[in-house]
Structures are given as structure tokens and as C-alpha cells.
Amino acid sequence: MPIQLIGFLLVAPALAVVLLLFIVPLVSSVTGAFDVGGAFGFGNFTKALDLYSGDILFTLVIVLLSSALIGLFSVMIGGYLTLGTNARAVAILRWIYRWPLFIPFIVVGQILRTFLAKNGLMNNIFIELGLMTPAAAMSFLDWRGIVVAFVWKQTPFVTLLLAGAMASIDQSTIEAARNLGAKRVRILIEIVLPQVRQTLLVGLILSFVTMMSVLSVPLMINAQSPTMITANMAFRINAHGDYGVANALGLISLLMTSVAAIVYLRQTMREHSQ
């Protein structure tokens, strides 16, 4: 048997699973979005936009804001891990930052639901420390809670990728800039960041797609309107059995991520061809 055939036979079962259990349902979500009572039409989209245009915008704003904050914090933490001069502070930071890395979203939702509530531990601590009056306490269980949950969970993941990339860049350019008296913030922005830009991009895109798929966090932190379209999709199916509108919302979320996904896949392909 030729080696190429053996290779193909070894890969085929894994490919078949991805094809049957991911690509086929993905295609049927696209066709289902245009299926209005068995005929082709745009009815699901007009209904989806009618009911949920606010939530679509809300979703986009939350995910973009979260991505921006994740990017900012991961650059700050990764930058200090790479350029920090005090070995003990670097070691402490390295130990602290990665705790949420593998904590499941459903647990993050439960933890933050009790922590950020009006009478939650965070407000109680602030009141006890005298930083806030009890009357000023408010609940963060709205869009802010969702952003906090996403940033809390995803920053360690992007930081891990970014710190790895930063550690592997050529140290001599950093040393040269340091000897010339450049400040660390300037070294980070002008020398380190341009070299790890692609890793940051890949990390942020993976986070973007993940955030667009998470159902538990919006359900647990803020299920009332305005909420994320993931929660709307679950509601359409559980309450109305309305697959048409759910698929239309699904296609809208696919369009939002496909822009990001195309950038990511092209990036990966370029790296492979090198």
C-alpha cells in the first residue's frame, strides 16, 4: 500500500468526525436561517432584527470591549514578565496571573454572580473598608459583569501565549535599547510588541470566537434584555422551538466571527507555508 494512502486512512476517521459533527451542522445552520416554513426567504432575519437588533449591537460592543481589555492587560502582564528587573516580583506575578486559565466558564459565571452582586462580597468589602457607603452599592450584574467575566477568564490565556512569544524574541535588541537608556514602556511598545503582534492577534481572535460561543456567562450574569445573542438563541429554541430565528441569529454571529476567523486561518496558513 502506498504511504500516502496509509496516511490518509489514519487521518480519515478524525476528519469524518469533524465533517459529520461540525461542518454538516454548520451548513444546516446556514440553510436553516433561510428556511421559512419550508421555503427560501428572509423572514427569519427580519424577525431576528426586529426583536434583537439591540442585542446584536450589545453583543458586538461587549465582545469588542472585552477583547480590547484582554489585549491591554495581557500586554501589561506579559511585558512585565519579560522586561521586569526584579526576579521576585516577576515570580509572584507569574504565579498569580494564570489561576483562571482552566477554570470553566460556568464556574466563572457562578463565582462572579455572587461576588459582583449588590450585596456581594466585593461591595461588602469596599463598604467595610470605608471606600464606599452602603447606599452607593450597586449591582454589577449587567454588561459590566459579562465583560468582567470574559476578561477575568481570557486574559491569562492570551498572556500565556504572549509571554511565550515575548520570551523567545531576540534579547540583544532589548539589551541594546536598555543600554541606550530607553524606558521599559518604550521598549515594550516600540521593540517587543511589533515582534509579537501576530501571536497577540491569534490569541485575541481565539478569545473573540470563544466569547461569541459562551452561553453560561450571559445566562448566569445577565439574562434580561439587553443580553447577548447566545442567550437569545437558547431562548428561541427552549421557549418557542423557533429554529429559524435561532439560526438567523447564529448566522449573524458566524458573520461577526468569520471576519476574525479568516484573518486567523490566513495567519496559520502563512505560518505553515514557511
Binding site: 489514519l10 468526525v17 469533524v18 516580583a89 461588602n124 523567545s168 452561553l215 439560526n247 496559520t268
Partner: protein, 270 residues
């Protein structure tokens, strides 16, 4: 002897303290909820601590033990199926000259590049026709699809990191290809494959969205139990369940680097 105070520790201490509060504040909150018997406004800390809710959760009639059993069964089966698919695929992608290798890798990347919620919705619809909804097998298949991407990536990286000459040495001494794989390649790749097994296990244990659409209400895993308890306002039960899910995730975070050596990590996605 002179004491030198490093004033730079003041901003450093504040920044690290703030980060520690952000990370550990919510985690402490979870632990407090898990051992709180009574806790209500305006008390900063629980009024009474105890384990009566734990006794409830772990009693033979409590549904946490049944959910834990279901979760572990599903995760175990998911690992077996995923690695059964990923080890041959990873070996072929790392070692054999495959036609359309780039395209195959691309196809295997797709589940990572699109939001999976619309996919789960339609899988549930397809599974319904084959009576797979609400069955363990249905949930395992969904978890396998999700875990397969990581499993194939890590397996490919683990096989790529092995020196090709070791295999060739075994072959030149008369070992068959399968024998060389079994006796030489597989043992060297084992730590990376073990890491991928643990990762797939955890992903399955923690998975919510797919189980919610395909499994509920017949298959209740720990994340579904946590969700139901939390929606019902039963924060003690939800927190205890969350803690059960939290412990393996944090343990894995600390040991992952021992399994995945940097030479393997650097080959992930290549």
C-alpha cells in the same frame, strides 16, 4: 549591616496586591459560599459555617453524586474516542508525507474558528432524528468533536518533537513499522499524549453548551447541575458543585508544564 528599603516595592506591592484581589477575591467568595450555612445582607462574612450542605450534596439521595458519575463516565469515554482518533491522525500529520496536508489541518481547525453554539443547536436537531438526544452517546459525540482539535494538535506536536532517527534505528534492527511505533515512538510521546488526554478530560468535564442542547434534561452532568442549582437561587449547592469542577482545573494549571515540555509546546499548530 545596613537596611536598604527598596521603595520600588510600594508600587509593585500595590499592583500585585490589586491583581491578587481581582484573582483571589472571587475564588475566596466561592469557598465562603461553599461552607456558609447562613449568609445574608448586610453581613460581610457568613454568620454560620458548616458542612450540612455538603452532607446533602453527597448523600446517596443527592443528585450530585449521580451527576459526578455521569460527568466522569462521559469524560472518560470522550478521552478514549478522542485519543483513538487523534493518535493515528497526529502520527500521520507529523510523520507521513500527506497530500493536502495544509487543507487537512485547516479542516481540523474549523471547530476552533467558528462559534459552536449554532452548531450545537443543529446537532441537537440532527441527533433528534436518530434518537441520540438525551443519551450518553450523543453527549460523548459532541464532546469528542470539541476535544478533537486539541487532541490532534497536541498529538501532532508530540510526534513531531521525537527524533526520527530513533524510529529508524528500531527499523534497521528489523522491527516492523507497527512494532517500532509501539515500542519506540509511543512511549516517548506518552507525556504529551497524557497531557492531551487530561486536557480533553477536563474540557469534557467542564462543557456546558453542548450538553445543555443535546443532553438536557435526561443527561445531567455537573455543569448542568450547577446551572440548575444556581438558577434556583441555591448558591450553596451551586458553589459546592463549582468547587468540585474548580479543583481539577487548578491542579491541571499547575502541572501542565511538567507534561508539555517546551519543545512540544513550540510545535503546537505547526
Amino acid at each position: 549591616m545596613s537596611f536598604q528599603i527598596d521603595w520600588k516595592w510600594i508600587p509593585r506591592g500595590i499592583a500585585l496586591g490589586l491583581l491578587a484581589f481581582i484573582i483571589f477575591g472571587p475564588l475566596t467568595n466561592l469557598i465562603l459560599w461553599a461552607v456558609a450555612e447562613r449568609w445574608y445582607f448586610p453581613h460581610v462574612l457568613p454568620l454560620k459555617y458548616g458542612f450540612s450542605f455538603w452532607a446533602n450534596v453527597f448523600s446517596p439521595r443527592g443528585n450530585a453524586m449521580a451527576s459526578l458519575g455521569t460527568s466522569v463516565l462521559i469524560a472518560g469515554l470522550t478521552v478514549i474516542v478522542s485519543l483513538g482518533l487523534a493518535i493515528p491522525a497526529g502520527y500521520a500529520l507529523a510523520r507521513l508525507r500527506l497530500p493536502f496536508r495544509g487543507l487537512i489541518l485547516l479542516a481540523l481547525l474549523i471547530p476552533q474558528a467558528f462559534p459552536n453554539l449554532p452548531v450545537y443547536v443543529n446537532i441537537a436537531r440532527i441527533f433528534y432524528q436518530y434518537s441520540l438526544n438525551g443519551t450518553i452517546l450523543g453527549v460523548v459525540l459532541v464532546h469528542v468533536t470539541h476535544g478533537l482539535v486539541y487532541a490532534v494538535w497536541i498529538a501532532t506536536a508530540a510526534f513531531s518533537a521525537i527524533d526520527r532517527e530513533l524510529e529508524e534505528a528500531a527499523r534497521s534492527m528489523g522491527a516492523s513499522a507497527l512494532r517500532g511505533f509501539w515500542d519506540v515512538t509511543l512511549p516517548i510521546a506518552a507525556p504529551g499524549l497524557l497531557a492531551s488526554a487530561i486536557f480533553v478530560f477536563l474540557e469534557s468535564l467542564d462543557e456546558f453548551t453542548g450538553t445543555y442542547f443535546v443532553g438536557a434534561p435526561d443527561v445531567t452532568t455537573l455543569p448542568l447541575l450547577l446551572y440548575t442549582a444556581g438558577s434556583g437561587g441555591n448558591y450553596q449547592i451551586a458553589s459546592i458543585t463549582a468547587l468540585i469542577l474548580l479543583v481539577p482545573s487548578i491542579a491541571f494549571m499547575f502541572v501542565v508544564e511538567r507534561f508539555l515540555r517546551s519543545d512540544v509546546l513550540s510545535k503546537v499548530g505547526h
